[in-house]
């Protein structure tokens, strides 16, 4: 559906760390129903870009538009409440809380104010049930009561996904969700994301080329902070610059 209005639109985004141009005039968009993959070698600036979309880094210039509105001035939390969900490259969870309580926090956030001081959350079915549903969705229901710090690496990634989904996002930013998942985990997640795109469009940063090629509707290639190519899977496979800069060099 190429004509649908983009959910996310980046226009001329720039960010430097000292002399290093980590984001160099990046423009791209994500449209409804699609998975837009962002690939590129280590240090290309993929995570830096995700951070700027999420609001955890402030760009030096350019614009981030989400559902038609400029969100450049919003904080991380405000963007999330607008519908920007994300997972981190290094899993970010509340380590002392159980998996269930982690997801309950997301549910709580969608239900409005967290300035409610008296009712115990664990006795609140509307929180517990919704959170259990999301855990079941990512196959983590059996581990609901395990403290997040004691989950395996892959399970923590699943947990993060459940937390992101519990926010009922309008766009998902996923930073290397396959990393460390193992072949089985990657395969499951690929199938999962394939379904998910119908509910929520995804900006996917990923090194796993097999997953990227099977999932992406479009791919943009980032090298030294700038997009050197953008197009369909076939376009990118055929692109000479990409092969040289990236695909050829990698395993």
């Amino acid at each position: 559906m190429p004509d649908a209005a983009p959910v996310l639109e980046l226009k001329g985004l720039r960010k430097s760390f000292g002399a290093l141009k980590a984001t160099d005039d990046v423009s791209l968009d994500v449209r409804p129903g699609e998975i837009h993959a962002l690939i590129g070698p280590n240090g290309a600036g993929k995570s830096t870009l995700i951070h700027q979309v999420a609001g955890s880094l402030t760009p030096d210039g350019g614009e981030v538009r989400f559902n038609g509105a400029d969100i450049s001035g919003l904080t991380v939390a405000q963007r999330v409440r607008r519908g920007l969900g994300r997972t981190f490259q290094v899993s970010s969870v509340a380590p002392e809380f159980s998996a269930l309580r982690n997801v309950m926090l997301s549910v709580q956030s969608t239900q409005g104010s967290s300035f409610r001081f008296f009712r115990p959350v664990m006795r609140d079915r509307s929180l517990v049930d919704a959170a259990m549903d999301k855990l079941a969705l990512v196959d983590l229901a059996e581990r609901a009561n395990v403290v997040a710090a004691e989950l395996s690496h892959g399970e923590r990634r699943q947990l993060e996904m459940a937390m992101a989904l519990a926010l009922r996002p309008k766009l998902l930013l996923l930073d290397e969700p396959m990393a460390g998942m193992g072949p089985e985990g990657s395969k499951n997640l690929t199938g999962f994301l394939d379904e998910l795109r119908n509910e929520v469009p995804i900006l996917l940063v990923e090194h796993d080329m097999e997953a990227v090629f099977s999932l992406a509707d479009r791919i943009s290639v980032l090298v030294y902070g700038s997009v050197i190519a953008s197009g369909s899977v076939d376009d990118i496979r055929a692109n000479k610059d990409v092969r040289e800069a990236y695909l050829g060099g990698e395993d």
Binding site: V76, A77, S114
Partner: protein
């Protein structure tokens, strides 16, 4: 019942028993000691909200303890002298009613904490510690140099403030007031901890980026927690002034901030009854070791060091084991 719950009951009932045993043994002094424990524990319960649940290492809670104390002292003095506190634009008179004094202490501490928190919570780590200390020191020096209420010499409360239906001059009755306030604040803390707000607050400590990525701004959550925390410590200050019938700038000094923090750390950071265990151990050591040697704080220091280095959960950690998270 978990082991921690059992220990909490033992601590709570143990403190309640002390004054009655003291009375039977004809040793009324111990009633005062138990009252001190209750009040100081309350100050710690306040700090524990900020420090234990929210991870805000405030080294300035003496400010709130002292402000609470001065609220009691100033209101009582005006009531005693029958001088209005404010003559214009409206007449505000002093009060010797504890309930009024508590409300004033809570309100002023909340307001001051709102201002201090709004500034200090933009920093973190060592900066937060130092800036909260700096604010408390400012208030300390202000109290010293402000002659109206005794300056450096402090302010005496000639008659302990009253409580409707009770005789506050009776040590047991005053103890029971302090004990009830402590238990009420512990109850509130427990509810806060288990509530939505408490969940957000604990994640603000564990991983603020995660909290933000969930759509909840850590700053707002922390600020509200800081205000509630200050109000509780301020309430303790008001009671402390009434216990001693005296308030002076020493209540505002950084030693007090340190001591309140010691109660929390000794007892077990983030443990509901930790501040009670910590304050009790502190007072017992001060009383018994302090009677033997002036240098009793050396022993306190050693114990504190051991707790910090070897048992992160403090006294409650030793007795109840690792914290269980639902």
């Amino acid at each position: 019942m978990s082991r921690e719950t059992v220990i909490n009951w033992v601590l709570g009932l143990g403190l309640l028993a002390v004054p009655f045993i003291a009375l039977m043994q004809g040793e009324p002094f111990y009633i005062t000691l138990a009252t001190r424990v209750a009040i100081l524990a309350l100050a710690g319960v306040g700090l524990n909200l900020a420090l234990g649940l929210g991870g805000m290492v405030s080294f300035g809670h003496a400010a709130f303890f002292g402000i609470g104390g001065y609220a009691a002292g100033i209101l009582a003095t005006h009531a005693f002298n029958q001088e209005p506190l404010l003559a214009w634009p409206l007449t505000v008179s002093g009060s010797s009613d504890m309930l009024v004094i508590w409300l004033v202490a809570i309100a002023i501490c909340a307001l001051v904490a709102l201002v201090i928190g709004a500034i200090t919570l933009r920093t973190s780590g060592v900066y937060f510690i130092m800036i909260t200390l700096a604010f408390a020191q400012m208030i300390y020096y202000f109290a010293i140099s402000w002659p109206a209420y005794g300056g450096e010499d402090g302010l005496s409360i000639y008659v302990r403030n009253g409580f409707p239906g009770l005789n506050t001059l009776d040590p047991i009755q005053f103890f029971l007031i302090c004990y009830a306030v402590l238990m009420a604040c512990l109850f509130i803390s427990a509810r806060l901890r288990d509530s939505r707000f408490g969940a957000a607050l604990q994640v603000a400590r564990q991983n603020p980026d995660r909290l933000a990525a969930t759509g909840i701004a850590p700053f707002n959550i922390r600020l509200v927690a800081f205000v509630i925390s200050a109000a509780m410590t301020g309430l303790a200050g008001a009671l402390f002034a009434d216990l001693n019938r005296f308030v002076s700038p020493s209540m505002l000094s950084w030693h007090v901030s340190g001591e309140i923090m010691i109660f929390v750390i000794l007892g077990g950071v983030g443990r509901l009854f930790g501040p009670l265990a910590g304050a009790a151990l502190f007072i017992v050591m001060e009383f018994y070791l302090g009677g033997i040697t002036e240098h009793w704080q050396l022993f306190l220091g050693i114990i504190l060091l051991c707790v910090v280095l070897f048992v992160r959960g403090g006294i409650l950690g030793i007795m109840a084991g690792r914290r269980v998270h639902a």
